[in-house]
């Protein structure tokens, strides 16, 4: 009796029960709470938008779902059963496929081999059955409308958009119940996006559930049935797309934040003298002939906002001549200059704190002092011979000034926490007394306490007359620091806000407007 009842209950559930349910999932990395209570439910055959600012927890959530990261707390149910994958393979076996933002294709193998890489058809001797593989790959590509691609081509011959679609084809090879698309349109043109949307619609009608992660709200409104907003690792809300609008989503992503109040109390330290100016300045990948023009004054903190891929990092790299610019004029303290190498830029008084501290900013396995003096070795050496005492003195002086917490100048930079590592990078540039400091994501991977310290340091630099150009994806950070914010979109400046005008809504609106204008062209 009990039995039949429960069976009946099961049968009734199948049509209405969500295919995937998350309840209060939490995950911390060290002290940072990446997921702080995410709840989510995905219905069969729906396209579910997942949005949030950078650092809201989208990537971690995807990693949890595909078995790369294990959550600390919380329950995940897949089709009513507890689901706790420990490897990506296990996730796939459960019918959950992910198309990652970064490509996972093998460039020198053929399209067919890439599609079948996880289970190459083979005979008893282990020899690959080419015909079967090619036929299968052909069918998989035709199914998503990629009939113009030869399955024998090596993947390196394909453009980025086609590679993305090949990834989708590969994900669909195994019967999947849930397909996660992580920023799938970031590299696609509008026509290719249309094609992808067609594929998504087809999959939806076949009953596949799709989680669609995107920065582009207009796309979310076009394709999604429901949308969930994450903020600081928490689910803010989850509702049908018809019951919400763009403004509400932006407000939900942003939330109310303390920093905003702090920001309005700050006084600009900008002086009238010009420190840096750009006229029609184009970085190597800039698609627009007019490039970027801006003016930066001494003592000013100029923030640059924009979505990922809007050309902010490329702009900084071109100013610092990490990749020399294509064209345009650059003036430093009024004098026209042009740099062909980082060396020339540095000698002229430009410092560049890169986005990727570990790959570009620090030599992790070398002493802190060696990192601090890396850009000013001539100051701590005589006739090419290093003066260790001078090196240690410089390190201790700057270490005290920046409140660096470290074991000793001879310890390796790798022994420091993220915030202190970033201070070492700042010290490296301060040791040169630069005129202009470019900062790309200055607090990435830095904990909350150290963030506040770094903000205070940046203000101090401005007080001394240093001109600062700050790129950040965290809008509260930009609004706290900046005297002025430029919004970039599609490699152009699309808006400028002075401090009284600062609001996350306005910045995002500029950023999204720029996108839409681009789409219409």
């Amino acid at each position: 009796m009990m039995n039949t009842e429960s069976v009946r209950a099961d049968a009734a559930d199948i049509s209405t029960r969500p295919v995937l349910e998350l309840h209060d999932v939490r995950k911390a990395f060290g002290g940072t709470k990446a997921l702080n209570g995410v709840s989510l439910s995905i219905e069969p055959g729906e396209v579910h938008g997942l949005i949030g600012e950078n650092g809201a927890g989208k990537s971690t959530l995807i990693k949890v779902l595909c078995g790369i990261v294990r959550p600390d707390e919380g329950a995940i149910n897949l089709s009513g059963r507890a689901y706790a994958p420990t490897t990506p393979r296990e996730a796939k076996a459960n019918g959950l496929q992910v198309v990652h933002q970064e490509f996972n294709l093998l460039p020198y193998l053929s399209v067919a081999e890439n599609i079948f890489i996880e289970h190459l058809p083979r005979n008893a001797l282990g020899v690959v059955r080419l015909q079967e593989m090619h036929a299968g790959a052909r069918a998989a590509l035709d199914a998503i409308g990629l009939s113009d691609i030869d399955v024998c081509w090596p993947v390196e011959r394909l453009g980025i958009a086609h590679r993305q679609l090949v990834e989708v084809a590969r994900a669909l090879m195994t019967e999947s119940r849930i397909l996660i698309l992580d920023e799938p349109t970031a590299t696609l043109t509008s026509r290719e996006t249309e094609r992808l949307f067609k594929i998504i619609n087809e999959l939806r009608s076949r009953g596949v559930s799709i989680i669609f992660v995107s920065h582009h709200l207009d796309e979310v409104f076009r394709i999604c049935d429901r949308v969930t907003v994450l903020r600081n690792g928490e689910t803010v809300f989850s509702r049908p797309i018809a019951e919400t609008n763009q403004d509400e989503l932006v407000r939900a992503m942003v939330g109310r934040k303390l920093q905003q109040q702090m920001a309005s109390e700050m006084v600009s330290l900008a002086r009238p003298e010009e420190a840096l100016s750009l006229v029609n300045f184009r970085h190597p990948q800039s698609p627009h002939a007019q490039g970027i023009s801006l003016q930066l004054h001494k003592g000013e903190i100029l923030g640059i906002a924009g979505l990922v891929g809007s050309g902010r990092t490329e702009l900084l790299r071109a100013i610092a001549a990490a990749e020399p610019p294509l064209s345009g004029a650059l003036r430093l303290e009024g004098a026209p200059v042009s740099f062909r190498s980082p060396r020339e830029a540095i000698n002229a008084g430009i410092g560049f704190v890169t986005e990727d501290r570990k790959e570009e900013g620090l030599i992790l396995n070398m002493p802190i002092a060696a990192n601090v003096t890396l850009a000013s070795l001539s100051d701590v050496s005589r006739a090419g011979i290093l003066d260790r005492k001078a090196e240690i003195a410089v390190t201790e002086r700057l270490g005290a000034e920046l409140k660096l917490k470290y074991g000793g100048p001879g310890r390796n930079a790798a022994t420091l926490s993220g915030g202190n590592q970033q201070k070492v990078v700042l010290a490296k540039w301060l040791a040169r007394n630069p005129k202009v400091l470019l900062l790309d994501e200055p607090t990435r991977g830095v904990d909350v306490g150290a963030k506040a310290e770094i903000y205070a340091l940046i203000r101090q630099f401005a007080e001394r007359g240093l001109a600062l150009l700050v790129v950040s994806s965290e809008l509260p950070e930009l609004m706290t620091l900046s005297d002025r914010i430029l919004v970039m979109s599609q490699h152009r400046v699309v808006g400028e806000l002075s401090r009284p005008e600062f609001s996350e809504e306005r910045i995002l609106q500029y950023a999204y407007q720029g996108e839409q204008q681009q789409a219409r062209h």
Partner: protein, 337 residues
């Protein structure tokens, strides 16, 4: 008072660490030194003739060439490169130097000075080309120096018409087997080169940046340093040392042949690796290289005295190379040293 002493002590500790003589680095080298010591003790106890003055100076003579080549190789490996051409370059430098050395009507001093200039110059040119070609076109040095391996060997054969050069000035030949206090002079030359290399690598801006490039090229570039200069310089230094090794070779064996030096590059790489330098670059010391060269030399000599065939010796040397890298891996994982 006590506190003051304490801060002074920690100051010097930090100073030491920066010079490359960090306690950790020191411990690494000490570990390799200990292995060498154990080998020496083992062969002294188990064989009759190992610990005799004659045999010791024999070993020192035998490792000299490899040590000089390995010092140059250390520079190249520290920036994450490799130089496969040093064996062939040795032959090329030797035949060029040997040709100059046998020019008639020159005084011994003139002949030796010009020959040294010619041999070192040849090495510098080959090394410069290795470095410049790989840095300018962004090619792996493995491939470029593989090319140079063939070019230099072919050039050596072409220049001499495949003949061996001999009949050098008698005083030059005698110099090769001279001793001071039972230590071969040629080994002392190698030691001086080790000392200079140690100074350059641990005390100068140049050395600091070589380590920097081996660890994180992009960070060094973005800090305003020309990668091209340092990469080319490392290979050029390796080339110059090949030239010196070629002169030492001729003084020792009194010939210059276009077929000498086959496989020497691999022995030099082995010494560097056994000495604890990472093939990925950025980590290692020339003192380690000195110890590594000594270990291979002691092993070669001791195993033969021990009664093993040359074939067995070769096999055991191979095992030691692999063991050294495995031990290094564990040491790093277990102790962070």
């Amino acid at each position: 008072m006590q506190a003051l002493e304490k801060t002074q002590a920690s100051d010097t500790a930090d100073t030491r660490r920066l010079t490359g003589w960090s306690p950790k680095v020191l411990l690494r080298d000490a570990g390799i030194g200990l292995a060498l010591l154990l080998l020496i003790v083992f062969f002294s106890v188990s064989t009759e003739h190992f610990l005799t003055p004659n045999n010791i100076s024999n070993i020192l003579t035998q490792i000299t060439i490899n040590l000089i080549l390995a010092v140059g190789m250390t520079f190249v490996i520290l920036i994450g490169g490799i130089d496969l051409s040093v064996g062939s370059m040795l032959a090329f430098c030797a035949v060029v130097g040997g040709t100059v050395l046998t020019i008639p009507d020159l005084s011994v001093f003139q002949a030796v000075a010009l020959a040294t200039l010619a041999a070192v110059g040849t090495g510098v040119v080959c090394g410069f080309l290795n470095g410049w070609i790989s840095a300018f076109w962004g090619l792996p040095s493995f491939i470029v120096t593989l090319g140079m391996l063939n070019i230099a060997r072919g050039a050596a054969l072409q220049v001499t018409d495949a003949r061996t050069i001999y009949s050098f000035p008698p005083s030059f030949n005698a110099f090769g087997s001279q001793m001071i206090l039972g230590i071969p002079v040629v080994f002392l030359i190698a030691l001086v080169l080790v000392a200079i290399a140690w100074f350059v690598l641990s005390k100068t801006v140049f050395g600091r940046l070589l380590y920097g490039i081996g660890n994180n090229e992009e960070a060094v570039r973005l800090a305003g340093h020309s990668l091209m200069f340092y990469k080319v310089a490392a290979f050029t230094i390796a080339g110059a040392l090949v030239g010196i090794a070629a002169m030492v070779y001729m003084a020792r064996l009194n010939i210059a042949s276009p077929i000498i030096g086959i496989g020497f590059e691999l022995n030099a790489i082995a010494a560097v690796i056994i000495g604890g330098t990472s093939l990925n670059g950025g980590r290692g010391t020339v003192i380690g290289t000195l110890l590594g060269a000594c270990i291979t030399g002691v092993l070669a000599n001791g195993l033969i005295l021990f009664g093993l065939s040359d074939f067995m010796r070769q096999m055991i040397t191979g095992v030691v190379i692999i063991l050294a890298v495995i031990i290094d891996k564990y040491r790093e994982r277990l102790t962070g040293i």
